[in-house]
């Protein structure tokens, strides 16, 4: 009688396995307990160590966006659209394959939502491997700009200690892989026009800034009149026009300045929050 017959449970008999002392039957049964790993074990593991990125959708003021992430942090924010194109773009920009979608870790999602709502302190871990220190310093600086305010490119350049690198700053902001999470839309041209935006163009940038409370029309009017700073006759402090302190100045006390020099000779000092001299 073969081993199979003896171990078959489909065949009731008084010759079940209990009647044998053959341990090889047990050995064979144990070998049969090997299993194949579930299909998602590979992508999940590679995403966790940061060798592939998963993705999730997040609703934002700029529309529905794809947030690509791995165990190290959020890597890319991109407009939701054609999946194949997105995969190709992702591989080209990060060098990593795009794994199937899976939910963002919930603390990260909450932090992203808080940041989109204007809370700069919400900590979103970012995976920016392969980016230069210059690019990172530009993006970190952009993170300091509060919602509802804007800064000129030159301000960012001066603040990171490269006052002449205005173009490079513009290029780094254009290559920001995580727009919205790093609010590069809050950096505008010093002539008061809005400038480019990688996530859907200037119209999206305008919509985002307006939703945050920036009065772009007023800003453009001021710039056209050559006014780049606003002082308060009561505090004797001058600011960039969108600084939260500038917006609180009552109309009767607002003093316009064309240059920082004009403000300083009038006896005003620079605001310590918006640091207008960096935009000079």
């Amino acid at each position: 009688m073969s081993r199979t017959d003896r171990t078959s449970r489909n065949r009731p008999s008084d010759e079940g396995i209990g009647t044998t002392s053959d341990l090889s039957v047990v050995e064979a049964a144990l070998r049969a307990l090997r299993s194949g790993a579930p299909d998602d074990l590979t992508p999940r593991t590679l995403v966790e160590v940061g060798l592939a990125d998963s993705w999730d959708l997040v609703d934002t003021p700029a529309g529905l966006v794809v947030v690509a992430w791995n165990g190290r942090g959020v890597a890319v924010v991109d407009l939701a659209g054609d999946h194949d194109a997105m995969e190709r773009r992702h591989l080209a920009t990060t060098g990593r394959p795009l794994a199937p979608a899976s939910p963002l870790p919930s603390p990260w999602r909450r932090a992203i939502e808080r940041r989109l709502a204007g809370d700069r302190r919400a900590r979103v871990p970012l995976d920016l491997r392969g980016r230069t220190t210059f690019e990172r310093s530009v993006w970190e600086k952009a993170l300091e700009i509060p919602a509802g305010e804007v800064r000129p490119y030159g301000w960012v350049a001066a603040e990171i200690g490269h006052p002449r690198a205005v173009r490079a700053v513009g290029s780094a902001l254009g290559h920001n892989p995580v727009p919205l999470v790093v609010p590069c839309h809050r950096v505008v041209r010093s002539d008061g026009t809005i400038g480019e935006y990688s996530l859907g163009g200037a119209s999206v940038k305008r919509r985002l800034l307006t939703a945050e409370g920036v009065d772009l029309d007023e800003l453009e009017i001021l710039t056209r009149r050559g006014i780049r700073y606003v002082g308060s006759a009561t505090t004797r402090i001058y600011c960039l026009p969108t600084c939260r302190h500038a917006r609180r100045i009552a109309a009767a006390n607002r003093v316009p300045f064309r240059t920082t020099h004009e403000g300083e000779t009038a006896g005003y000092r620079a605001c310590r929050d918006c640091r207008p001299r960096a935009a000079a």
Binding site: A37, P38, V49
Partner: protein
């Protein structure tokens, strides 16, 4: 690719070779976790966690140390430790033997590669054996899983578990006897039922 070539590639460029480690070892690590823990979802998390730990360890190793690794016992040791820690955590919160005993995954990838002997074993009640295995104490179950489910040699098991080969042989033998007797007792119960 065999493991000696793989460790050289891991030592040279971890990020480009790690995918091959996952492809080559995930089935066995999942199988070990599955039979130590008895639950598919737990097993998948533990297998993933074990490979993530392996990646982080390799990232910190000097390349010479990586090249000298024997991947099979090294990875087995990691997955057994992760599984044990998880079980300890679970048993703090939950009644013991929360093991889900029927895995219901008879059509796994291994099924397609079975030898004639394995094909014959197909008629064995896998879920029934898995259930009995799950009721064994750890000191028998873990060596049995490494020896038969994972097919490690006693030398590799000694390396993975840090126990002498003689001890492991005795534990495996006692484990086999226990399983055989438990199976027999169960057959008798079913016949008298």
């Amino acid at each position: 690719m065999d493991d000696s070539e793989l460790v050289d590639r891991l030592a040279a460029d971890l990020d480009s070779a790690f995918g091959d480690l996952v492809a080559g070892h995930q089935d066995r690590l999942y199988s070990i976790a599955m039979r130590v823990l008895g639950d598919r979802a737990d097993a998948e998390e533990v297998a993933q966690d074990a490979m993530v730990r392996a990646y982080r360890a390799l990232a910190g190793y000097p390349s010479q140390r990586t090249r000298e690794l024997r991947l099979r016992p090294w990875l087995a040791a990691i997955v057994v430790n992760v599984a044990r820690n998880r079980r300890r955590r679970l048993s703090d919160r939950q009644p013991p033997l929360r093991l889900v005993l029927r895995d219901g995954e008879e059509q796994g990838r291994w099924g397609r590669e079975r030898s004639a002997e394995m094909a014959a074993i197909d008629r064995i009640d896998r879920a029934g054996w898995a259930e009995l295995l799950a009721t064994l104490p750890d000191r028998y179950r873990v060596p049995l899983v490494l020896r038969y489910v994972d097919d490690l040699s006693y030398a590799e098991m000694a390396e993975a578990l840090g126990r002498p080969e003689g001890t492991l042989k005795a534990q495996v033998h006692r484990g086999l006897v226990r399983l055989r007797d438990a199976w027999a007792a169960r057959e008798r119960r079913e016949e008298t039922a």
